[in-house]
């Protein structure tokens, strides 16, 4: 069958549905059938699944002309999705094609939810089209004779690649692909990504920077211009609007008319606890919404979530309070309006959420931005400009993640074993390990086999063994089993399931929260008031309670930082505070009362000014700095500055930061004049100073926790088997100290520091920020009390610490304070 005939099949099918294929869909079919690899840039709900399922099926038809009568068994294509919740939807669209075209192809799902029985069945009888997650793909690579399974696989599609890129799951994917390229005879690699700043790089990471695959690839853009309207919810009474906070409940009454005026509204919150609270409060104040409103977040059980998703499609819900759990996949045509509560901390994410509404072609998307405190109004205004210019962030891919590589090599050793000479060139072709040296490679192999770089007679280290023919292999069943449980690179906080005594599953909560409860305490979860009874195994037993409570579990939401572009827009927006009233946006106009208060003792900085404020409260001496560069940069800058100050005089301080500025809080006054006189903001020697400052705080230690788990140095325990994760926590803490004291040249230990630099602190941007400050006039305001700008920062409890004073001195001061 030639290309034209194949295309006819597809176009006929579209006609039958009364649809017309988009140009980007045809473009993808074409490229795929020509044997090309590629990256498809298309948003959710644009028909991207048909852009790639079709050519996969057409390719099968092409190679098997008697496809209607004969079925050639075996895996033909893999579809990778980052969220297993999306797999059903993907399966349905695939089945629609395979059935309508009368092929006999089968479609299967394999994720963490798949039962052992089904998995065993797949071992002998793989579906033609397999939908799976990056972790489950790795698990397949850990099974015996995986090469046979994949031999005839003709395509792998990585969906939502932008979500994986910039995470270690992305690295895991790169490694999996590097293996498949060798063992599949005729493989096409495709990625699907929403719009991000570095699309070209995304393609390079997917296919390998120097690979023949990249050479033979295309970038297909959907270019569906969609109109997005952003509206801010501006508080009616600015005088009483809070300076800090993250809930936004003050504006609840202004939300209700919006909900009433639209068919279905999604309210996006940034954390699960915020989601719970909003749900609760709306029902308390507007009980008439009962039955018409639901909640959706990642900790609620799967059935409930599926029910909510179905109810949105049926238009039986007026409003759904949700978190990022509804960001991806799932097409919800009836959604008319989206409300974003609190700063979304990312233009790409904001656009994606906006795209949740007005899904029908030609309709505009409407998104409301609800600020949770005064300064977020500046963000709201900046966000509108960002959407106008599509100032979307980059996703920075990882480099040299030794932990993921160790995990991958162990995976291969668990299956059939591997020969280093065969694997090394594959790994060198990936983006992540393109600079891996022979020495580092040898180091990793030694580490796998000996757990160190030399052999000692008393050592009983055991993991991977080298067999006589030079094959690296895991022979211990126990090691293999532990490793399979451990595959996966997402290290979350330990979670515990919440159940009724009779066994009904409600959802899961971080163990940290449960550990603070005692029997009889009541807390809100999944929209219910629950009384805590006891912990049994890995489950918390609860019963319904009628008592009111204000305890809501907190989940550690990722604290994202503004991109360079967004920070720039934010500064520009703030500078308009000095303009004439009628030249300002309504958000900035609304902030007038706050700006006046700010000007009482301080000022609203202008482009040529760098503002420093100092004041004292009962917490201690506050030193505030406002570069407006985004959270990540402030984290690095505060650490750098504190370190440089400590060179002048011994200090102990805690650091807090947000997207606007940072604070050094100390028990004694820091001499700002000295900072200025010694030019402590200089970009000179930045790197070495920053490096030294890291040794004295906790950032690298936290990174190390994940590295220790991923590389298998700490075992997280069998799921639901009662091995408490507390054990993991303390032992990775201890491990870090042990490495620092005894083996600080260990590549995994050093990786913790490299990651902190590259992924957390964004060294390059920090330098630019310091250069900008060098050209500004520094304005130091001594205030008698906290200013509005400082408020959100000084009330932040999540802090870094830094000290170079003698421990004994610090403790003596604490004791003196206690006994005073």
């Amino acid at each position: 069958m030639n290309q034209k005939n194949l295309f006819n099949i597809a176009e006929n099918w579209f006609q039958e549905q009364d649809w017309k294929p988009f140009p980007f869909q045809k473009e993808s079919w074409n490229a795929f059938l020509e044997g090309k690899h590629g990256l498809l840039n298309a948003p959710t709900g644009s028909g991207k699944t048909y852009a790639l399922w079709f050519p996969i099926v057409l390719n099968y038809i092409k190679n098997n002309p008697d496809y209607k009568t004969k079925h050639k068994k075996g895996l033909k294509a893999i579809w990778i999705t980052p969220l297993r919740a999306l797999s059903q939807e993907i399966k349905q669209s695939a089945e629609r094609i395979t059935q309508d075209l009368e092929t006999q192809m089968t479609v299967g799902i394999r994720t963490g939810d798949t039962s052992a029985k089904e998995r065993a069945k797949m071992r002998t009888n793989m579906p033609d089209l397999l939908i799976t997650t990056p972790e489950s793909l790795q698990l397949l690579l850990s099974s015996k004779d995986y090469k046979k399974t994949f031999k005839n696989c003709s395509a792998i599609v990585v969906d939502e690649w932008h979500e994986l890129l910039g995470t270690k799951r992305g690295v895991q994917m790169e490694l999996g692909l590097s293996r498949l390229k060798t063992i599949c005879k005729d493989l096409r690699i495709w990625g699907i990504s929403a719009t991000i700043g570095n699309l070209e790089q995304a393609r390079e990471v997917l296919l390998g920077p120097t690979s023949p695959e990249l050479e033979n690839s295309v970038l297909v853009k959907a270019n569906l211009n969609k109109k997005i309207t952003v509206k801010s919810i501006i508080p009616k009474e600015m005088e009483t609007f809070p300076w800090r906070g993250h809930l936004g409940l003050h504006l609840l009454d202004q939300v209700v008319p919006i909900v009433n005026n639209s068919k279905t509204t999604l309210l996006f919150t940034n954390t699960r606890s915020q989601c719970e609270i909003w749900f609760q409060k709306i029902l308390e104040k507007y009980p008439e919404f009962a039955g018409e409103m639901a909640m959706h977040h990642g900790s609620i059980n799967k059935e409930t979530r599926l029910w909510v998703e179905q109810a949105i499609r049926n238009e039986s819900l007026k409003a759904v309070v949700c978190t990022s759990s509804l960001d991806l996949g799932v097409d919800f045509a009836p959604v008319e309006t989206v409300i974003q509560i609190g700063g979304p901390k990312g233009v790409a994410r904001f656009l994606q959420r906006a795209g949740r509404s007005g899904h029908r072609p030609g309709k505009e998307s409407v998104i409301y931005f609800l600020p949770t405190h005064a300064i977020e109004l500046v963000e709201a205004s900046a966000m509108q400009k960002a959407v106008l210019n599509s100032a979307v962030e980059d996703r920075i891919p990882y480099l040299n993640s030794f932990d993921v590589l160790i995990q991958y090599l162990t995976t291969l050793a668990v299956s059939n074993g591997f020969f280093p000479d065969e694997i090394y060139p594959e790994i060198k072709q990936t983006f992540c390990y393109q600079t891996l040296t022979e020495e580092q490679w040898q180091w990793l192999l030694n580490f796998l086999v000996m757990g160190s770089q030399s052999l000692k007679s008393y050592d009983e280290y055991k993991k991977v063994e080298v067999e006589e023919d030079g094959k690296f292999k895991v022979n211990s069943r126990a090691v293999a089993m532990r490793h399979r449980f451990q595959i996966g690179t997402i290290v979350g906080d330990a979670t515990i399931s919440v159940r009724y005594q009779k066994g009904g599953y409600i959802g899961s909560i971080e163990e940290y929260f449960i550990s603070k409860l005692s029997a009889g305490d009541v807390f809100t979860f999944a929209g219910r008031n629950l009384e805590f009874i006891r912990i049994k195994g890995m489950a918390a037993h609860v019963r319904n309670s009628s008592k009111r409570t204000n305890k809501v579990p907190s989940w550690m939401g990722g604290r994202l930082s503004f991109s360079a572009k967004m920070s720039e827009l934010l500064r520009q927006e703030l500078y308009t505070a000095e303009l004439e009233f009628d030249q300002q946006s309504e958000e900035i106009q609304a902030l007038q009362p706050m700006f006046s208060k700010q000007r009482e003792e301080s000022l609203v900085p202008q482009p040529h000014q760098f503002l420093i404020e100092t004041f004292k409260t009962r917490d201690g001496y506050h030193h505030m700095f406002y570069p407006f560069e985004g959270r990540a940069i402030h984290e690095g800058m505060s650490s750098l500055l504190a370190y440089r100050i400590s060179l002048l005089t011994p200090i102990t301080c805690s650091l807090a930061f947000n997207d606007y500025g940072f604070e050094l809080l100390s028990d004694r006054e820091i001499n700002i004049q000295e900072i200025l006189d010694n030019n402590l903001f200089t970009p000179e020697y930045m790197l070495s100073d920053l490096q030294k400052s890291l040794n004295s705080n906790e950032m690298a230690r936290r990174k190390f926790r994940d590295i220790a788990v991923i590389s298998g140095m700490v075992f997280t325990g069998y799921p639901e088997k009662g091995v408490k994760m507390k054990h993991l926590q303390s032992s990775s803490e201890l491990l870090f100290d042990v490495f620092r004291d005894f083996e600080d040249d260990n590549l995994l230990y050093q990786q913790a520091f490299t990651e902190t630099f590259e992924h957390q602190l964004e060294e390059g941007r920090l330098r630019l920020a310091l250069e900008r400050i060098a050209e500004q006039e520094i304005v130091w305001k001594k205030c008698t009390q906290p200013t509005p700008l400082s408020f959100p920062i000084i009330t932040d409890r999540l802090r870094e610490k830094l000290s170079n004073e003698k421990l004994a001195d610090r403790i003596q001061r604490m004791i003196n304070k206690l006994t005073k």
Binding site: S452, F742, A808
Partner: protein, 210 residues
């Protein structure tokens, strides 16, 4: 820098490495060394740095040479796991240490008693010496003052400017003293002192009463 205290008219010295020395009896008390833990982890494929194994023995040597006791009593959890090759290192250490060694068994001590007896180490479920009770788990018994371990106590201190610090400590209540864990590769559990409690924190190489 050691700290001297008196209990029931007897003199005791607290050592910043985490041991406690009873002067009148020339008895050194040490708790929760958790020998063998590093090897245990390594045996199960967790590559904890091997050099950490030796640190425990170096510290034991140091504290023994500081006090030169007649007797050393371990208050439980001497060995972390089942037998592994670290036992050989322990045998060597026992061989070159002149003091008599006693062990009050703890929950981790699952190695066969014969192995200890071969090294002339006597094992007890608990020990009573005059009006003092030596156990692994904390226990208050009328008429006695208890020395015990098990908890790995630490204390949290707060200062001005939201400063917070956690330190391992000797935790003394009216009739009981919980010793800190001597072992290197062990965690701590923080305790909240009551007014009647006395806490002796280990601050680098000195003991500070908090």
């Amino acid at each position: 820098m050691r700290k001297n205290i008196q209990i029931h008219n007897q003199k005791f010295q607290l050592h910043p490495l985490g041991g406690l020395f009873w002067e009148e009896k020339s008895l050194l008390l040490i708790s929760d060394v958790h020998l063998g833990k590093v090897s245990h982890f390594r045996k199960f494929g967790a590559a904890v740095p091997r050099k950490a194994i030796h640190k425990n023995f170096l510290l034991l040597d140091k504290i023994v040479s500081d006090f030169q006791p007649f007797q050393i009593c371990f208050l439980g959890d001497l060995f972390h796991s089942s037998l592994n090759k670290e036992w050989e290192l322990f045998e060597n250490w026992v061989g070159k240490t002149p003091a008599e060694i006693l062990l009050v068994a703890g929950n981790h001590d699952i190695i066969a008693p014969e192995k200890f007896e071969k090294l002339k180490i006597s094992i007890f479920p608990e020990l009573v010496i005059d009006s003092f009770l030596l156990t692994h788990h904390p226990e208050e018994r009328e008429g006695y003052f208890t020395f015990c371990g098990h908890i790995h106590p630490s204390i949290k201190l707060k200062g001005f400017g939201r400063e917070r610090i956690k330190l391992p400590c000797f935790f003394k209540s009216n009739n009981q003293m919980i010793l800190p864990a001597f072992g290197q590769f062990t965690g701590t559990h923080s305790l909240d002192p009551k007014d009647s409690d006395e806490v002796f924190a280990i601050v680098e190489d000195s003991i500070l009463k908090v």
